[in-house]
Amino acid sequence: METLGLLGHGFATAFTPANLLATFIGCLLGQFIGILPGIGPAAGIALLLPITFGVPAATALMMLSGIMYGAMYGGTLTSVLINVPGEAASVMTAVDGHQLAKQGRAGAALSIAAIGSFIAGVGAVALLAFLCPVLGGFALKFNAPEFFLLATLGLTTTASLGSGSTSKALLMAVFGLIVALVGTDPMTGLPRLTFGEMELMDGIDFIPVAVGIFGIGEVLASLEASQTNVSFIKTRLRDLWLTKKDWVACRMAILRGGTVGFLVGLMPGVGPVVASMLAYAVEHRASKHPERFGKGALDAVAAAESANNSAVQAAMIPMLALGIPGSAATAVLLAALVLLGIRPGPMLMTQQSELVWGLIASMFIGNVILIIMNLPMAPLFAASLRIPYEYLAPGILVVSLVGSFATTLSLFNVGITIFFGVIGYLMLKFNLPRAPVVLAIVLAPLMESSLRQSLMLSLGSPLIFLQRPISAILFAMVLTSLALPLFRRKKVEAKGDELDGTV
């Protein structure tokens, strides 16, 4: 009941004209960012962060989080209409969505994606509203050892549960930690890894790194191939209407996708990409006609889209309740909180109650805004796909530079952004995951301060991390997350040996 009361106050905050406008602008920008290939929600939030300076923190956060979940809706358009996922989490949507479009059912695909995203998104926000206070209350019992282990768990789960190589993901997390170590030691004030460079005394800012790696790096990779005129499938307003058969086919897919997405999104570091892939796989297994998958199955689109939107909302739970980002985009949001002068962590829910509940309420409103935008206005947004990418790419690059300058008024930071842009490009070439880098940079201050505090308390004994039940459990979870990929590999190898034996 208390939660409902707080949520009511949250709606009162979210329904002010300024906050409504901010949520709308965030959703609209997120929609466009989702449509545009070469820029994702993490880079979008980082790029647009400077325009929130000077507005109240709650308003800024509502806009920035609107960008995050708005991008999930926007990514569907390009996936379905031109078979190019505008956002990584829409990759699975493209598999069946574009096939449906070729069969003249683009409208149905877009429609079910929007409706599935809405239902799953609202469901996820409702669960978020009830889970956050519970988790936040539990986290009030945490001390320095628990925070260190929780931050470490955030990095290890990113590596072990994310897509791609675990060892490469861990390596990139180490890279992120190295970047975060540059600057001044927080306890002694001594310069560290600055190599005599005055500009590095304040450390390497998070925003230039995020903008460089996710924004500039992605655009550079997109420039490799000259963009030929893509022919895309037109869609009309009347095509968006779903039949009763479509509803019956998709309702369980939305439920299953939303549930999978929520559970995956809760896990720090995993994110909507894995959620949509897992939901697709689950739906394939649950379907009575799995042979349709890959050839234009509407329920496949429903599952993938429900999952990615649900995961994005769920990723806010560890961020709000624990101060641990659940994805690259929430890592940037967390950095935004710090820039806005707010300290993330378990105390956020009590100390900044109006901000948190206003944000949660705005997520309900944002999902409503997005379904209104996506259903009748889908053909309008689809028209923006006609703009050749070569006219957009230079704009994205210069906005990246201006945004980086605006955060610290330093041309040195602009140089850092370009440097990390090249790094981001090379990371894409060498299949190195980028999310662990930004997660590590965001988590590093918490990791270092809590580690040193813990060892100070225990007079140097590492046993402090095992003494309390919560920290012991977290320690076990860290070890499990590191061991999980090894077990998976052994299982795959054993299966391979078995097949070799039977052939």
Binding site: P50, I51, F53, G54, S165, S167, K168, L170, L171, V174, F175, L177, I178, L181, D185, M187, T188, L190, R192, L193, F195, I216, L220, L223, E224, A225, S226, P388, E390, Y391, A393, P394, G395, L397, V398, V399, L401, V402, F405, A406, L409, L411, V414, G415, I418, G421, V422, Y425, K429, F430, N431, L432, M447, E448, L451, R452, L455, M456, L459, G460
Partner: protein
């Protein structure tokens, strides 16, 4: 040799060595508290360990695994764009930030991406105007100005 795996591992090995060497003069432990070199040492150690694991895995797996580099034209586009971005940094204080971005965009669209003149100029000027309106006029961000005042 799997270049995809070996190259990043070698780079990180080098970086870890730099981190360790760069913090050797700082104290690892002082009385009963970890010093400024504590975490860098452990991070460098983790970097060496994980790089070692990747190198061993790469040597055991064998086979080829090379990055998909672009063709010549694509490579030139990427290199020239990067070079253009780098040039923006020293030019901005002299030309003005907004003017520099407009020049960069025109150069990129006409010279690198080979787009048509009028749409390129329109796009660059519109973006420049947008940047000026949002960042200079609305947000009052003190972007470096040049002889034209922006």
């Amino acid at each position: 040799m799997r270049t995809l795996d070996v190259a990043p591992a070698l780079v990180m090995l080098g970086l870890s060595a730099v981190v360790y060497g760069g913090t050797r003069d700082l104290s690892y432990w002082s009385e009963f508290t970890p010093g400024p070199a504590f975490l860098p040492t452990w991070v460098a150690g983790a970097g060496v360990l994980i790089s070692g694991v990747i190198l061993v895995q790469a040597l055991r797996k064998g086979g080829t695994g090379k990055p998909e580099w672009p063709d010549r034209a694509g490579g030139v586009r990427v290199l020239l764009t990067t070079g253009g971005l780098m040039l923006c940094v020293p030019l901005a204080p002299h030309l003005g930030f907004v003017a520099t971005t407009v020049v960069f965009m025109v150069g990129m669209m006409l010279g690198i991406l080979r787009r048509k003149l009028v749409p390129s100029l329109l796009t660059a000027l519109t973006t420049g105007l947008l940047i000026y309106t949002v960042f200079v006029w609305w947000l009052k961000v003190a972007l470096p100005t040049g002889p034209l005042g922006f």
